[in-house]
């Protein structure tokens, strides 16, 4: 039996992109929560943030990212690091995320 091939960044990114924020329905990649992704052999390190320090789904989302990364064949262990630097702002949204939120219309200012 052949050992699993080493995972690629693209494989990991695709798996993580399937994790959606339960409230907005956007992929966490489109939300701009993933700051850094590294693969060292069969180990993965994800650095990410949350939309708010008080995000009630924070722990679940972090657990989901870890599970998604570890579901990729060839990954033995995924480490998910949470950072608040730089803090997330809506400017982190990808164009796809902005479109899904209907944000491409001119912004309403008070």
């Amino acid at each position: 039996m052949n050992p699993s091939p080493l995972p690629t960044l693209a494989d990991i990114a695709a798996a993580i992109a399937r994790v959606a924020d339960p409230e907005f329905g956007l992929s966490i990649v489109d939300l701009g929560l993933i700051y850094d992704l590294r693969v060292k052999g069969d180990e993965v390190q994800v650095t990410m943030t949350l939309t708010s320090f008080y995000c009630p789904a924070g722990e679940v989302i972090l657990g989901g990212v870890k599970a998604a990364a570890e579901s990729v064949p060839g990954v033995s262990r995924a480490e998910v690091r949470l950072t608040w630097e730089p803090p997330w702002t809506p400017d982190c949204l990808t164009p796809a995320g902005r479109a899904q939120l209907g944000w491409d219309a001119p912004r309403v200012e008070p």
Binding site: A15, R18, V19, A20, P22, E23, F24, G25, T47, T51, S52, Y54, C55, P56, A57, G58, E59, V60, I61, L62, G63, G64, V65, K66, A67, A68, A69, S71, E79, V80, R81, L82, T83, W84, E85, P90, L93, L101, G102, W103, A105, R107, V108, E109, P110
Partner: protein, 437 residues
Amino acid sequence: MSPRFDPAPPPAAGLPPGASASAWPLAWMGLGLLWLLVAAGWLVAQPDLLTLPHFHPATVGWVHLWLPGGLLAICIGACYQLMPVVLGPPLRTPRGGMAAHLTLHTVGITALTLAFASGRYAHAGLAGLPVTVGTLLLFTTALRTWWFSTRRDVVAWCLPLSTGWLVLTTLSGVLLACNRAHGFLSGDILLFLRAHAHVGLAGFFLTLLQGMTFQLIPMFTMAELRGRRALPTGFWLTQIALPLLITGWVVGTGALIVVASALLTAGVGASAAALVLTLRSRRRRQLERPVRVFLIGGVLGALTMGGGVALAVWPLPADLALRSALAYGVLLIPGALSLMILGMTGKILPFLIWLRAYGPHLGQRPVPLATKLGWPRLEAVGGGLLLTASLGLGTAALTQAPALARIAAGVLAAAILALALNAGRMAWHLVPKRPRG
């Protein structure tokens, strides 16, 4: 500057902490919806309840089933869920405290409603005791969790303050019910009853809404918190107005009541201004239906409050004053407050169910969104009917129209049934499914 890292959570084996913590809040919300259903059914059977004087025993019984029964139970569930999220530290509740509070509240409200409905005020006083002990448990939990938190904005302050006002509400209720049986208080009891009602309505519900709205609305609409001066001004004006209002009612000083009402109205106005500014900064263009229901309730509440101030300022003929006070209460309790709380429940409940049913599977298999667990059309029907019923009941109370009261009671029951069925559909996701094949 190097990035600041916080430790990642443990692997998603079993229920994540957030999911296991959702069980008690869900139980509270289920209990609240059940009591609203019973109260709506009661009103269909006896539609003249809301056209009787507001101090009639049956009316008082119905209001206690709807307000501290239904709406308060839902809010208590939300408080237990949001406290650790908003404040940071784990919930500082004594061992068995959650089960004890739910039991005390269930027993207390059931007995309280039955005692009021049958006009047994001494029994109502006794029945209020377990409710009071329960509110003390909630208050101490909020205070201790807040004490260990570093957050000190109005969102954090609203938790110990609102629950503190709630303790005062239940204590004063017990005192007034016992007084009705034993007559140890001197003075105008009707004014004391108004003080009791306003400590509950403005003290607990308004304080909670003036704080928690500014946690939830930015989160649900992806908005920035704006109105950074208006927000604390509104909140603290309410906290200043409340002791003045209570003193005004208890002592019977009309001028003090007017001043306190003006301060309270200014406080609500400042909070409304902060909310409008916050909403205008939102990134999520389309407001979801539950958020719209919440906002409609807020507008109705502000208008009704204006009417309440007018009632306090302008003397009316006795009969009209009585009918206006009843209409004010109806528009505020089954109307504005219910729209706001049930609107917010439409956001919190599916999230709690999602957390428990699908949170542990996130990243492992496809899971539905929290916003897709219910029946959107039923939710829309429920919200629309609730607004229609509120306006109908308010008009029926003001005009003393029994036919309109009957129709509006039926509409209210249909609204609650629709919202409860939608909640049931969401809760169905908690039932473990057998794998196909």
